[in-house]
């Protein structure tokens, strides 16, 4: 078992009679990029607020970087950088002053702050906006500045609530690249999102939450195999005879659950192979076909994307 940097046990948060988070058990391994996905109102923000010590759980426990959020809130705060879903702007501040202020709040000595601010601005590519007023920045820039702020005290965990929401595609890509870069620097990134494409492209782990409960979580690999019991390989050949030959050849191989002829498309015959093996197995099938002189026009694995996975798990509630 890898080290868990965020762990919750049966975490609950109740607002009046409504359970916003209902027995959630999270496990975020150190060094991972963890996508926390769920439909609106699933309880993502509430969970994050409990992890950042802003809200006290109704029941259950949570540990961040080995510290209990209930008993050692200050140690938790030192370990995390938090970016809420709303960007908090001080309208009367310059970019560098904004970072300087938060660095001072983390008790970073004044002598070190100038260097720190320069480094942070460089990291999020805002060096040229150093002396601009914060409220004049574009939304994407604000989001990057916000990210820089979370890094001021060099925390080991970043807790980011919808870091890409409301951004245009370009800004979204920039944020995504930044997250990957930060992960390379050794930070654990725990972020929530609706945007599944973001999650599937950069995450190493995901957790899916719905109605305050964890529906599924694990590494991307585990999730795929758990939710998609087999991979699907699509083979395209020239004609029906070849297809028949290929079918009888593949059907007997270990790991092949099912082989099915699909309707021909563009005059070409197609087969779908449901396979449970690993990558080597897939390669072996390909080689076998070649060895038997079956002319293969196309051999592709259908990547079942997260969207489908998500729709399946959340029963289509998601937007």
């Amino acid at each position: 078992m890898t080290d868990l940097i965020i762990e919750t046990q049966d975490l609950r948060k109740r607002f009046g009679k409504f359970d916003a988070v209902n027995g959630l058990s999270l496990a975020v391994p150190a060094g991972s990029i963890y996508g926390f996905v769920g439909p609106n109102g699933a309880g993502k923000t509430t969970t994050m607020r409990m992890l950042t010590t802003l809200t006290r759980p109704t029941a259950g426990e949570a540990w961040v970087a080995g510290h209990s959020v209930l008993k050692e809130p200050r140690a938790v705060r030192r370990a995390i950088g938090y970016m809420p879903d709303e960007f908090g702007v001080y309208d009367d501040m310059r970019v560098w002053e904004y970072l300087d202020f938060f660095a001072a709040c983390y008790d970073i000595p004044e002598n070190n702050r100038k260097r720190l601010i320069d480094d942070l601005l460089e990291l999020v590519d805002l060096t040229h906006r150093r002396d601009d007023m914060v409220d004049k920045l574009s939304r994407g820039m604000k989001q990057r500045l916000s990210l820089a702020r979370t890094l001021a005290h060099d925390p080991s965990v970043l807790i980011l609530d919808e870091p890409a929401s409301g951004l245009d595609p370009r800004a979204r890509v920039e944020i995504r690249e930044l997250l990957v870069e930060l992960a390379k620097m050794g930070k654990t990134i725990f972020f929530s999102s609706h945007i599944l494409a973001d999650v599937s492209e950069i995450c190493t782990h995901i957790g899916i939450i719905e109605a305050g409960q964890m529906v599924a979580q694990g590494s991307m690999q585990e999730m795929r195999s758990q939710l998609m019991p087999h991979r699907e390989i699509l083979v395209t050949v020239r004609d029906a005879d070849t297809a028949e030959k290929a079918l009888s050849l593949v059907a007997g191989l270990p790991g092949v659950v099912n082989v099915q002829r699909l309707d021909p498309r563009g005059g070409r015959s197609r087969l779908r192979i449901d396979y449970t093996g690993d990558d080597e197995g897939v390669a072996a099938i390909n080689q076998k076909l070649a060895a038997e002189n079956i002319a293969v026009l196309g051999f592709t694995e259908e990547t079942k994307d997260l969207e489908a996975m998500f729709m399946r798990v959340t029963k289509g509630v998601v937007t």
Partner: protein, 442 residues
Amino acid sequence: MIEEAAPLIEMPEEALTPREHRLERGAAVLRWGAIANTALSVLVMLLALAGGLRLIPDLFPTLHAALLARVAAPDDAAIAGVILLTQVNISLLLVLMVGILAREVWALVGVWLLALVNLAAVAVFGFTPALLTVVFAVWSGIVITRDTGAFRLNPVMLKELRGRMRGVRAFFVLTVYLALMSSFTALLYLVYIPVNRATGSAAAGEVGRVLFMGIVGIELVLIIFIAPAFTAGAITGERERQTYDLLRTTLLPSPSFVLGKLESALSYVLLLLLAAIPLQSIAFLFGGVTEGELVLSFVVLTVTAITLGTVGIYFSAITPRTLTASVRSYSATLIGAFVAPIVASIVLSVVRTALGLSSPIIEAALVYVNDFLVSLNPIATALTTQELLINRQVVGFWTDTLASNGSTIPRVSPWITFTIIYLVVSAVLVVLSIRRTRKVEG
């Protein structure tokens, strides 16, 4: 006036670093000092009561000799002085305690200064209870001076001042304020001179005094309106801008947050007060005003600003919206400093006429209650203080003669009781605001 503030502060339950641990220890020592002083002042009050009711014979001279030996004053005045000075020490200990937790440089200096001043009070006045404060202040001073690096410029204050002083707004406010004050002064002069001519007595001192009182009066009114307005939005503003949560996930201590907000607002108000001093000095040209009046008026103005600023901070901490916080601050000020004392003093005068001049004890009690009520209101305090200064040359303590039997009682100029009451209220409100901002939502 029983001190209640001491038990209010709760220490943060978790110290992370040796530095934080040390600061908390330094603050805790001062808290014990405040508690010890509270116990002492209660004890002195009980003894004074016992002595006053003649339960124990010759207690007053004994107490005077033990507690304030070197001051040649009537025994009862000396004992009243001891109680007041102890209250001053309690307030200062509390303020310094909060200052240490907020890591303010002034707290580091202040602790040693407090020890020094108290030591001097022992030496000069024979004020022996000060030894208690000396012990705790030195103890705390030793604890915190080992790590002077912990004390710093308050980041919140710096941030607020940067924002407040940027652009033309701050100077616009200052200009409007000075313009208002100057035109008011000119108006007062123009109105007063003809009136004065008509009555025939053209004493220049009279003109100077009227101008001075007019300026101080308008300043007081302005401060009463400005101070809460500056602070009522301090914490609610952070909530409304969604920056409050950001701050709370940092390691910024709650005392730094609250004090930083207060300091930045007060430093601006102080700037306004200082800017008006040249105007006040015009009154000197006409004579009739002393430096004492200038200093005391400045004290009353500053204390008013501090306390009303703190009232704003407090309501800002416990209210979700700025508008509600402002309304509540003004209402609390209006009720606490104006409505309640005025109603109470009307009731008091009714009671006085009903009772007549029967018993000296009742008369003395009524005098003290009246003094207390005057001390609740900054304007009444300013007027009474000035009246005492001019007519009786009284700055601090004085001896009054009762009408009922001709015996004497000690009395204090209201600016002293006013300062103590207002500062204690401030300290309590600051502590309550800190507790509130430290709280995690349930």
